[in-house]
């Protein structure tokens, strides 16, 4: 942990370096670094400067429109929000009953299409320029256009994998982005045989490309292992969903936490009881909260989520090619969870391979074409929690409804929020290791962004909250010394210091 770099003890005379916006990530964020005269980093923070408000403004809306509404949190992983909200709202229609088998399979297919396309987008469009060209490559070249120019086949493959995932979404929801497939109680649109056949036509090719993409990510990591292993390293526990039998699971399962030593410290945890596990800390310099695992306290409760957590936590992958890839990854870790920030790319490609294989298995299932999509309503509940593994990690939607079926309470913990502490720690690790005493250069600043990018953060998703967040406003003199300071406490009180 590098928390000593969160807040400088004295900011007098420190110079400020700002990276804004952080590029090649979803949403808007900035990094500030405070350096002393010898260019040693005294403070490093990733600030999330967007502000949304979904948890508040969906209150009073009828619950049936909520899944379709909250998917607008994101343009990259809307399906994850659609499905997490659908799961959370299922009990408002079904009580304890489950959705129909066909509806569950359609939701699973939809979700695996979502994770496939989002992971491909991140790896090929956003991250691969750093990995293929190096962190110091010219900015004008270090982007997806540069990848297409120098590695045309690879770049096109990435675009086509993503396109395939988008097509899965379109077949199931009517649109590639923000469709209307899933609803409380089941699924709205049956899948036709021609639509299924259209997806079957290309799936073998997609699986082959995902095998090659995993090999690329693995080989790239191992070839640069000496540098990558310690790059932005942050030692944490990992949380993810797994199935009851311990397999990696994206749609529905139980929560598992593995600590840095590789011991399972939480298992079979009912996702509906997430509040027993997670607390959220607020800091006055960011709109994004900082969750931790409450039973282990603030420090020991530091955890991360996402593909790295999924691969580290799973006893096995549910599909054969992904399982073979996971074994290689586990062997590299030597029995302990892999902690390297940049190993997330490798883990993400194993995850992607699992998605492609799962899509193939689902498309072969005749039950997918069933017409029984909405389960029979039964005694409805008034509270529901939906937890899902979104591309960036565990996504939690929690709602309560009033007697008139409108939303009275909403709490969302978005994947990127879980990783807020991890991203900040990786930023500080990079700043600590690379900056001290050196001349600031674009390549040096890019290393900070590379560390953030490894988490594939979706900053717009993660800033959904509306609350009495503490804020500090500081007025600085020209020499950087503090002139005045205004503090808004989390109870809304405002005080001048």
């Amino acid at each position: 942990m590098h928390e000593h770099l969160e807040t400088a003890s004295d900011i007098t005379g420190l110079s400020r370096v700002v990276i804004e916006p952080v590029s090649r990530v979803e949403g808007h964020g900035k990094v500030t670094l405070l350096l002393d005269d010898e260019r040693r980093v005294r403070q490093a923070r990733l600030h999330i400067v967007e502000f949304r408000g979904f948890e508040r403004f969906i209150q009073g809306r009828p619950f049936r429109e909520v899944p379709t509404l909250v998917q607008r949190l994101c343009g990259i992983c809307p399906v994850s929000h659609l499905l997490a909200a659908s799961k959370a709202c299922d009990p408002f229609v079904l009580g304890n009953a489950r959705i129909t088998p066909t509806a569950e399979k359609l939701r699973r297919l939809l979700h695996h299409g979502q994770v496939l396309q989002s992971n491909a987008l991140h790896f090929f469009h956003l991250a691969s320029p750093d990995l293929l060209f190096g962190f110091d490559d010219a900015v004008a070249h270090r982007n997806v256009i540069g990848v297409l120019a120098d590695h045309k086949e690879l770049g096109l493959r990435g675009i086509r994998i993503r396109k395939y995932g988008q097509e899965v979404i379109r077949h199931l929801t009517g649109k590639r982005v923000h469709g209307t497939g899933s609803a409380p109680g089941g699924f709205l649109k049956p899948l036709s045989a021609p639509e299924r056949d259209a997806m079957l036509r290309d799936i073998d090719q997609i699986v082959d490309w995902c095998v090659a993409s995993n090999a690329l990510a693995r080989d790239n990591y191992l070839a640069n292992e000496a540098e990558f292993r310690g790059f932005g390293e942050s030692e944490s526990a990992f949380m993810s969903l797994v199935s009851r039998d311990g397999a990696a699971e994206l749609y529905d399962g139980v929560l598992r936490v593995k600590n840095a030593a590789g011991e399972i410290i939480v298992d079979n945890h009912d996702p509906a009881r997430y509040l027993d596990l997670i607390r959220e800390e607020v800091k006055p310099w960011s709109y994004m909260k900082f969750p931790y695992l409450a039973p282990f306290g603030h420090d020991a409760g530091y955890y991360r989520v996402g593909p790295l957590a999924r691969i580290n936590n799973a006893d096995f992958m549910p599909t054969p090619l992904a399982e073979a890839a996971r074994r290689e990854f586990v062997d590299y870790g030597g029995g302990k969870p892999v902690q390297a920030a940049l190993a997330q790319h490798w883990a993400r490609m194993i995850d992607t391979l699992m998605c492609a294989e799962t899509i193939r298995e689902l498309l072969d299932d005749p039950e997918l074409l069933g017409s029984d999509l909405m389960a029979q309503p039964s005694e409805p509940a008034r509270e529901g929690v939906g937890v899902i593994e979104a591309p960036r990690g565990t996504l939690i939607h929690h709602y309560k409804i009033a007697d008139d079926e409108t939303i009275s309470y909403a709490n969302l913990i978005v994947s990127t929020t879980h990783n807020n502490r991890g991203m900040n720690d990786s930023v500080r690790a990079v700043a600590d290791k690379y900056f001290d005493g050196r001349e600031i250069s674009e390549g040096l600043l890019n290393r900070i962004e590379v560390a953030i990018r490894a988490y594939d953060p979706c900053l717009s998703c993660a800033t959904h909250a509306l609350g009495q967040m503490p804020l500090i406003i500081e007025a600085l003199n020209p020499d950087g010394s503090l002139q005045s300071r205004l503090l808004r406490h989390d109870d809304g009180r405002i005080a001048q210091e």
């Binding site: 009073g60 009828p62 049936r64 929801t173 009517g174 609803a183 409380p184 008139d404």
Partner: protein, 244 residues
Amino acid sequence: MNGNDFTFVLDGENIPFEPGQTIMEAATQAGVYIPHLCYHEEYRPRGSCKLCTVKINGHFGTACTMPVQPGMQVDNDTDELTAMRRRVVQMLFVEGNHYCPFCEKSGNCQLQAVAYHVGMQDSHYPHFYPLRNVDASHPDMLLDRDRCIQCELCVRASRETDGKAVFGLSGRGTRTQLVVNSESGLLGDSDFSITDFAARICPTGALIPKREGYPLPIGARLYDAKDIARVGHRQPSSKAAGEK
């Protein structure tokens, strides 16, 4: 032209009409679409939404209220009128809280379809963001005043067809709101029923049945593939039970 020549000219075409018909009725009978929102063939026209404004012998007038005269020259599909109608629709959008992306009526909504038809790309005017209540008290129907354009179709349907007078408009100017005739003011305390014709007549998503969700997938909705002018004049009928 003689006294028995019951035709008028609409966008340069001779259109027959029956004596006593309005321009809207004659155009609809001839298969010509004139944009409208507050007009319904079963009720006396109000001419309040102004969307059916046409140019009649060089002067502006509402097609739903103006009786046709033989030889009348009417312009409907012109750039000038489309631009004016676009402004009217934009004003309707900013006056309420219309969020098509998650509205269950999206794709089947006349207001949205007309907006596409007149080429509305943005709101143009500043949004009012009025504070309007959602009334979810009725067991079968949701009243979302955010989406109400105050066309009074539900008012007329409830009064004239259902014989109930559940709805009315109250207040003045921008504070005008749809109100419910019950002691509490809640729809759930009125004698409104999902089987009423008023439950099926809303051109937007202000009055929608509960538990339907998004019944038609994107691509299969009324206005997904065809512009409202090509879909043509299509309204629920009080004579056709269950039609939506």
